[in-house]
Symmetry: C2
Subunit: 158 residues, 2 copies
């Protein structure tokens, strides 16, 4: 289980290069009508297959490791349902809570979204977002990666 | 790629026990609107994850082996999208072409469907179906495993 909050930044922060970053390629094999998704992802040298059950702030999730060869076999089946982004990991004042700041590239270039995972609902509610994080879009389905992959960038973003 | 024809039997043939059979548990993690499906299956002792791209007689397909532990982790995410069946494999007069005859159990009990995979379109067209195979349902979407798993047994079947 994971609890997440999500923010839409008007632009990347200036000091982004101070933080570690990795390139992420992510493609959706299938997205069920109830929101359940199966995606493959390669982040740095590591490839995974992830299943997330349908919508909401609390979702069941399972992840499998993939060999590079398996990733390469599955990737073509995600054609038309892909995102590419550079993820920057930024610490917060709360132990174990980090901001994952995604700067999208490719078709979604210009979009900057931050995601924060919390150990529980209480911690999520208690988090005071710094102003530079911009507008909260936790409940806005258009900013879900699965919809960005299929529908592209929302008009008002970036 | 695979070329398949499919038949709906009124009942299982009498001599079914002469042929080797295995139990199959199959659950769908997600089915995309374009027909692309991601399923997990355990057949005998072997578990796999399969991705098939959207509809039609010719479909792209990739398969990964799964450990028993991985299968057990993913299986709960197929709740409400499952089929159980016993598959009997019956030889034909054509070298390398077998009839896979599925006798469904569980919620789909009473349904009997035969699938035949061919190396190419020419072989599929040339195959003369024996009378006991019943009615051809190759083009009938209601008999796709993915729809049986979600929608249940068609009214007229069995």
């Amino acid at each position: 289980m994971e609890i997440e909050r999500k923010f839409l930044l008007p632009a990347p922060p200036d000091d982004l290069d101070r933080h570690p970053s990795t390139e992420i390629e992510q493609g959706y094999l299938a997205i069920h009508a109830d929101g359940t998704e199966v995606r493959v992802r390669r982040r740095g040298g590591t490839a995974t297959l992830t299943v997330k059950s349908g919508g909401g702030k609390v979702r069941a999730e399972e992840e499998l490791g993939l060999s590079d060869a398996d990733f390469e076999r599955l990737w073509p089946l995600t054609d038309g349902r892909r995102i590419e982004k550079v993820r920057h990991v930024i610490p917060t004042d709360t132990d174990g809570v980090e901001i994952e700041l995604d700067v999208y590239t490719g078709d979604l270039a210009g979009l900057v979204v931050a995601e924060i995972e919390f150990p529980g609902e209480a911690e999520a509610d208690a988090f005071a977002a710094p102003e530079w994080l911009g507008r909260e879009v936790t409940g806005d389905g258009r900013f879900k990666n699965q919809r960005l992959a299929v529908e592209g960038r929302p008009d008002e973003a970036g």
